[in-house]
Amino acid sequence: MTTTTGDTSSAPSGTGTTTAVHRLDEFLKASTSFWQDQLGRWTGILQKVRAGTYDSTQWMQDTLGMVDAWIDLATVPFQLAAGRENPLPTLLFVVDGDAEFSPPGDAATNIFLPPGVTPEVSDLYRVGDDILAGGPPVSGSRTISSRAHVRARLSPEGDRVVVTLVDIGRGRSVREQKGIFPGLYAGAVFAREGSERRPLAIICALFEEPTLP
C-alpha cells in the first residue's frame, strides 16, 4: 500500500547546492542536534549530582539515552550513503460497497517526530470536483469529514503512521446520510509542531458503488 513519490538523490537541487553540500549540511545538522542533546544531558546530570538527587535509576536512563544518541549519530553517514531520503507514503484504501470499516493501512514515517506530536488528518476531497466552487455539489458531497470517518495515529514506537476509515456505513442510503458517495478521494496526514505542518502521508480512498440500496 506504500508508494514512493520520487527519488530525491539526484543533484544539484533546485536551489543550486550540490549533493555534496547537501550531505555535509545534513551531517552538520545531525551532529549539532547530537551535541545539543549531550550538552543538555550533562548539564542536568551535574545539577542533580550537586544537589545530591542523582540516583541509579536516573543514571541508567541517562546512559541508555546517550547510547541511543550515539547510535543515531553513527547511522547518519549510512543514511547519507544510501543517497535517498524516506519517501512520503501514500496509503490507498479500496472500500467495497459493503464494508463499514476499513482495516488499518500503515507505512513507515518519512520523518522523525519528537514525543507528544500527534498526527492530524485533513478532510478527504473527491478527486475531480472543484472544491472551491460554491453552492451545492453536482452529485453528492465533495468531501468526507475526517473527524467522523478517518482515524490517524502513530505506532507506539512513533515510526509508523497508521490510518483507518471508520463508520463508513453499509448501503447507499446509509452512506449518503454520512456524506460518503462513490468516487476517489484524497487527503493528507500531517503532524503539527508549533506552526509547522509536517507531511506524514497521503491518503487515497476509492469508494465503490454500494451493493445495497
Partner: protein, 414 residues
C-alpha cells in the same frame, strides 16, 4: 476425557467451565451445519472437538452451565433431526439426552409429539419450526432479568472447578421424551446407520429456510432469526438492551461508551450518566466477543458499534439498530490482528401479536445480523498462502455467528 483447565497460557482467564462451555457448543454448531465443513481448513490446534466428545463434555460442565449448554445443544441437534430431517444426528441427540433410539422413525415421531404436546399454544399437525424447538428447549432456563454488573472489586473470587457426575438430570427434552416414549434412562446405544431421507421428508427440508446464509460474492453472512416470546414487555426491553449482552460467556465485556472530546477515541460512559437498562438510548457500545475453537484455543474480537435503541412502551414495540463503527482488533490462532470484521450491522424488533392465543406467545421478534470478517492476510509477507485462504472465517461465519445469536435470543423464552 481430560478437561483442559484454564491455567493454559493460551487461554484468557475466565469463570470455571466457560472455555469448555463455549468449545462444546461450537462443536455442536459446527458439526450440525453443512457449512461447518470449512473448519477442516483450520490449523490442527484450532480444530473443534469431535461431536461425541463435545456431548460428553457438556454433561461434565460445572454448576448451571450444563443446564444451559444442554438446552442449546438440544435445540441444535433436535433442529437438525426434526426440521432438517438429518437422521445422522439421531444417535448424537439420543446420546445427549441419555435415551435409547430403537427405531429412528419412531424416535423422531415421539420427539415431535413430545415437543408439540408440551408447548402451549401450538397448532397440532403443524411442522415444527426452529422457533418451536428453541422455545421448548430454552423455556425451562432460568432467565433472570439483567441487572447492572457489579464493579470488579465486588466480584467474588473464582472457585475451583468441580464437575458433577454424569448422567444429567431428567429435565427438558429428555424428560418429555421419557414420558412420551415410556423409556428409562440407560446407557446410550451405539450409533446406528444413518437412514436415507425419503422424498417427502427431503421436500419438507427444502421448505425450511436456514437461519443463516452467506453471500458467496460479498462473503457477507446474514443471520435472520424470527421468534416469538411470552415474556413480559419490561423484561424484554431490559434483555434486548445491547448493554445486557455482557458480561456473559460469549461477551466478557460489553458497555456503553462515548467519544472523547478530541474525537480520537472512546471512553466508558459513567454509570451515573447512563440511562436505565431497557429504556431508549442512542450512542456507542464497546463489545468484546469471545469464543473457543476447542478447550485450549480461544478467539476474540473487540468492536465499537453504533446503537439506536428505541423502546415504545405505550405501543409495546422495541426497535434496536446497530452498525459497525470500527473494529479495534482481534485475536485468532494465538495471534493478534489489527483487523477482525468490516461488516457488523443489523436490527432487532419487537411487536405485539394481535389477539394472542391463551398461553401462547405475546410478542413477535425478529433478529437480523449481517457480518463479514476481514481477510486475515494482507499479503505483505511471504510465503503466499492459497487463494482465498485469508477468508476462512467468513466461510465459518454462519456457524459461529449462529451460535452467538442463539446465546442472545435464548434469553427471550420465558
Amino acid at each position: 476425557m481430560a478437561i483442559t483447565r484454564q491455567s493454559d497460557s493460551f487461554l484468557p482467564e475466565r469463570d470455571p467451565g466457560v472455555h469448555e462451555y463455549r468449545a462444546s457448543l461450537l462443536s455442536v454448531f459446527l458439526h450440525t451445519d453443512p457449512r461447518g465443513d470449512a473448519s477442516l481448513a483450520l490449523p490442527p490446534e484450532m480444530q473443534p472437538l469431535p461431536l461425541s466428545e463435545a456431548i460428553e463434555l457438556i454433561h461434565q460442565l460445572p454448576g448451571g452451565r450444563t443446564e444451559e449448554a444442554l438446552a442449546t445443544a438440544e435445540f441444535k441437534l433436535a433442529s437438525a433431526v426434526l426440521v432438517e430431517q438429518r437422521d445422522e444426528f439421531i444417535h448424537h441427540l439420543a446420546n445427549l439426552l441419555g435415551v435409547e433410539v430403537g427405531d429412528p422413525a419412531a424416535f423422531r415421531r415421539a420427539l415431535t409429539e413430545s415437543i408439540q404436546e408440551t408447548v402451549p399454544g401450538q397448532i397440532p399437525g403443524r411442522f415444527l419450526s426452529y422457533d418451536d424447538i428453541r422455545n421448548f428447549a430454552y423455556r425451562g432456563l432460568a432467565n433472570p432479568a439483567p441487572t447492572e454488573p457489579p464493579p470488579p472489586t465486588e466480584q467474588t473470587p473464582v472457585p475451583p472447578l468441580v464437575y458433577p457426575v454424569y448422567p444429567t438430570r431428567e429435565r427438558g427434552l429428555r424428560k418429555a421424551l421419557l414420558q412420551v416414549m415410556g423409556l428409562t434412562a440407560k446407557t446410550p446405544t451405539p450409533p446406528e446407520e444413518a437412514r436415507v431421507r425419503s422424498a417427502p421428508q427431503a421436500a419438507r427440508f427444502l421448505t425450511s429456510r436456514p437461519e443463516s446464509t452467506v453471500d458467496l460474492e460479498t462473503l457477507v453472512t446474514t443471520v435472520d432469526i424470527p421468534s416469538e416470546s411470552r415474556c413480559d414487555f419490561a423484561l424484554l426491553a431490559r434483555t434486548l438492551d445491547p448493554r445486557s449482552w455482557g458480561p456473559s460467556p460469549f461477551w466478557p465485556e460489553c458497555f456503553q461508551v462515548e467519544p472523547t472530546p478530541d474525537g480520537r477515541g472512546f471512553v466508558p460512559v459513567p454509570a451515573a450518566k447512563a440511562t436505565l437498562r431497557g429504556t431508549d438510548w442512542h450512542g456507542a457500545l464497546f463489545e468484546h466477543v469471545e469464543w473457543n475453537w476447542n478447550t485450549f484455543r480461544a478467539a476474540s474480537f473487540r468492536n465499537f458499534l453504533n446503537i439506536d435503541y428505541t423502546v415504545d412502551e405505550p405501543h409495546q414495540t422495541i426497535d434496536m439498530r446497530f452498525s459497525l463503527f470500527s473494529c479495534e482488533g482481534s485475536e485468532l490462532f494465538v495471534v493478534s490482528f489489527d483487523r477482525g470484521i468490516d461488516v457488523d450491522a443489523g436490527f432487532q424488533t419487537v411487536a405485539p401479536i394481535p389477539n394472542p392465543r391463551a398461553g401462547g406467545p405475546r410478542f413477535q421478534l425478529r433478529t437480523v445480523k449481517n457480518i463479514r470478517y476481514s481477510d486475515l492476510l494482507d499479503r505483505r509477507t511471504r510465503p503466499p498462502a492459497a487463494l482465498g485462504s485469508g477468508q476462512i472465517l467468513s466461510h465459518l461465519a454462519p456457524v459461529v455467528v449462529g451460535l452467538w445469536m442463539n446465546e442472545l435470543v435464548k434469553k427471550l423464552y420465558c
